[in-house]
């Protein structure tokens, strides 16, 4: 699998990320940046794919970005990326962070596989995929979320990401990483069960999988909070998510 090759890489290993501007046909100011540990939010392009795409078509939608000086290692912001994004978005976006959904997150075109949203009442985040049509604890269904935050906007508190990205090392690392995850649709959770277990183990909370609520627990913050307290979800004891 292509994803496996990338899985062994870390953002620190490379000096070049890749842009993706395929979605500018309908979100004209949106610019994706793909790093080894942040695959494209559509789930279709990882860093390797972008590299290959560039080598096949050097003037295409995937351009190399020399990331340059790191401005914020925790939230994931680089000078070179900012400069590229500002130019490619024609001034609409001046900067964004790779590893945060709370502070100036990356923009979203609308074709994201999943959308993560902050759940202030639970001091955590949730994520929902395209395949789940029901209500979610943030009060918005996937389609509403996509409408609210799509179109190339950076919407603090929300970020589009791929399914694969959930278990990548840098997933919302600046906000506390995967340990912030308090709710996912059951099907999505089960689909990536093995990878969640593995990642959770590495983060030192091997039973995280069973602590993440799903729609069988509830679809409002009020419903899932008692569950999180009962199982002792790590997010509850983290720093407040809304600063």
């Amino acid at each position: 699998m292509r994803d496996e090759r990338v899985e062994k890489m870390q953002d620190e290993d490379v000096d070049t990320f890749y842009s993706c501007t395929l979605c500018q046909s309908f979100a004209p100011s949106h610019v994706c940046s793909v790093s080894p540990e942040r695959t494209g939010l559509c789930g279709a392009y990882n860093w390797m794919d972008c590299k290959a795409s560039y080598e096949i078509n050097p003037t295409g939608p995937n351009q190399p970005i020399k990331i340059g000086e790191c401005l914020d290692p925790k939230l994931g912001q680089w000078k070179g990326v900012n400069e590229f994004v500002e130019k490619a978005s024609r001034g609409a976006t001046t900067h964004y962070n790779f590893y945060s959904m709370v502070t100036d997150p990356m923009t979203t075109c609308g074709c994201c596989e999943c959308i993560a949203a902050m759940l202030p009442g639970c001091n955590g985040v949730m994520t929902v995929g395209r395949d789940y049509n029901g209500d979610t604890p943030c009060g918005m269904k996937f389609t509403t979320l996509a409408g609210v935050m799509g179109g190339g906007a950076s919407s603090p508190g929300f970020v589009g990401h791929s399914k694969f990205n959930i278990t990548q090392g840098k997933f919302i690392k600046g906000d506390g990483g995967l340990l912030r995850m308090v709710w996912m649709p059951k099907a999505l959770k089960e689909e990536i069960k093995e990878r969640i277990m593995k990642r959770a183990e590495a983060l030192g909370v091997p039973d995280l999988y069973d602590k993440i609520a799903d729609e069988t627990v509830g679809t409002t913050e009020e419903e899932i909070l008692p569950f999180l307290q009962k199982v002792g979800h790590p997010a509850l004891s983290m720093d407040p998510i809304v600063g």
């Binding site: 609308g110 943030c138 609210v148 179109g151 913050e221 809304v242």
Partner: protein
């Protein structure tokens, strides 16, 4: 301009009481940030937060409601300069004008004709919404009588046009229940018109000679406590009006100019000597930001293209148009009629339906919910896969309506036939033409 959803959220009560109509404070904050909600909807927000939020959270262009009943509508509330940036929300009102001295039978005839101008397209009823009553001789009684007749005997909303306050007052009394738009407050009568609008709680149009004049008037009336304003920059010449429309929208959205943060009203009927030219001007205005266009008349050939143009521009480009999943009867099909299946993208549906109708072969058309994707896209996205289509056919209940077990699938989805056969034992899966235009020949050859 522009607090983010999170910044707004921090100032809200965070109780998720749902009384504003959305399930969480966060969702409400996002709507506020997008200019799609008003802070007043939250009953528990603190005064301190209110002050902080008022400026940032009011929509940059205020939505104004006009009319009552089935043709009531809202204009304004827009958040972008160009449709592709997001979407346009509230389609403009289309109006035709009558004089206040029109004879009752002539008015009857017009209302009857105008009422008939309704068109079904993509499951929507397209129709103009307004009649404008123009005061001609300062005759308050005639003005009120005409307004009353329109308000009571038709579905149309009204625009009351007079610069005389006493005449306007009579008109307002006659039809206030229909929530008419008062046109217009000018520099000369702003106090009196403003008070009338305030007392009656009706939206008020303001007319000036240029944009600077509009700003002065708008500030004055807002200062009097009026909220629902509609702007007329006074231009009656194409180039200047176009420039004004763009300038007003830009000022409200890009410069955060509150004085110009209202929808506009325009008068093609005062800009040309014949309805054809008026219609052309109206077409330009519908594309370029007008909140209301007033024509001198409605004719099928003039109003229909405008309604379609309006539909096209104001549909949400982020969502494909869809039709409801189910069984559609075309012609009067019986138990031996052919059964076809396709996706619920509205264009697919209308093209396929049109071609089946054209074939004059009565048929059953099964429309499957593919989230608005066309045949090839749905197939590529796995939403028109053989097992899914098969299971849909099974559950649709078509088997009880026909005496045969044959189903025609789109030619471009030929590769799903094998899986469909597995899902539908005993059914014959027939591969139809790739292009809808070949459906008539296909159906006739089989009949």
């Amino acid at each position: 301009m522009g607090l983010t959803g999170i910044q707004i959220f921090k100032l809200l009560p965070k109780t998720n009481c749902t009384e504003c109509g959305v399930p969480t404070c966060l969702a409400f904050a996002m709507n506020l940030a997008a200019g799609k909600a008003e802070l007043d909807s939250c009953p528990y927000v603190s005064d301190e937060a209110k002050n902080q939020l008022a400026e940032a959270s009011a929509p940059p262009i205020r939505p104004v409601a006009i009319g009552a009943g089935v043709r009531a509508f809202k204009v304004g509330g827009e958040t972008v300069m160009f449709r592709h940036e997001k979407t346009f929300y509230n389609p403009p009102g289309i109006a035709a004008a009558v004089s206040s001295d029109i004879a009752a039978d002539a008015l009857d005839k017009k209302l009857k004709e105008w009422n008939a101008l309704q068109y079904e397209r993509v499951g929507l009823n397209l129709c103009p919404q307004l009649v404008a009553v123009k005061d001609v001789k300062g005759d308050a009684a005639a003005f009120a009588a005409t307004a009353k007749k329109i308000a009571q005997e038709s579905e149309f909303g009204l625009i009351l046009i007079s610069d005389k306050v006493d005449v306007m007052k009579a008109g307002v009394e006659a039809c206030a229940f229909k929530k008419p738009l008062i046109y217009a407050a000018t520099a000369d009568n702003a106090d009196a018109m403003g008070n009338l609008a305030k007392e009656s709680g009706l939206p008020l149009a303001i007319k000036a000679n240029d944009i600077d004049g509009l700003i002065a008037l708008s500030d004055k009336l807002t200062g009097m406590g009026l909220k629902d304003l509609v702007l007329d920059s006074g231009a009656r010449e194409m180039k200047q009006l176009f420039a004004d429309q763009v300038a007003i929208r830009r000022a409200a959205l890009k410069a955060g100019n509150r004085s110009l943060g209202f929808p506009t009203i325009t008068f093609p009927c005062e800009m040309a000597s014949n309805l054809d030219m008026e219609t052309a001007i109206a077409a330009m205005l519908i594309a370029k930001y007008a909140g209301i266009v007033v024509l001198s008349d409605f004719k099928g050939e003039s109003v229909f293209p405008l309604l379609l143009e309006r539909l096209n521009i104001y549909t949400d480009p982020q969502r494909p148009m869809t039709v409801t999943q189910g069984i559609y009867e075309i012609g009067s099909p019986n138990e031996n009629s052919p059964v076809l299946v396709t996706t619920n993208f509205s264009l697919t549906y209308f093209i396929v339906t049109g071609e089946i109708e054209g074939s004059r072969v009565p048929s059953w058309l099964l429309i499957m919910d593919t989230e608005g994707l066309s045949v090839m896209t749905a197939w590529a996205a796995g939403k028109f896969a053989g097992d899914a289509v098969g299971s849909f056919v099974k559950k649709s209940g078509i088997a009880e309506k026909v005496a045969h077990k044959k189903i025609i699938i789109p030619g471009y989805a030929a590769s799903i036939s094998g899986e469909m056969e597995e899902e539908l034992p005993g059914w014959e899966i027939i591969i139809g033409p790739r292009d809808a235009s070949l459906i008539p020949k296909f159906l006739k050859d089989r009949a």
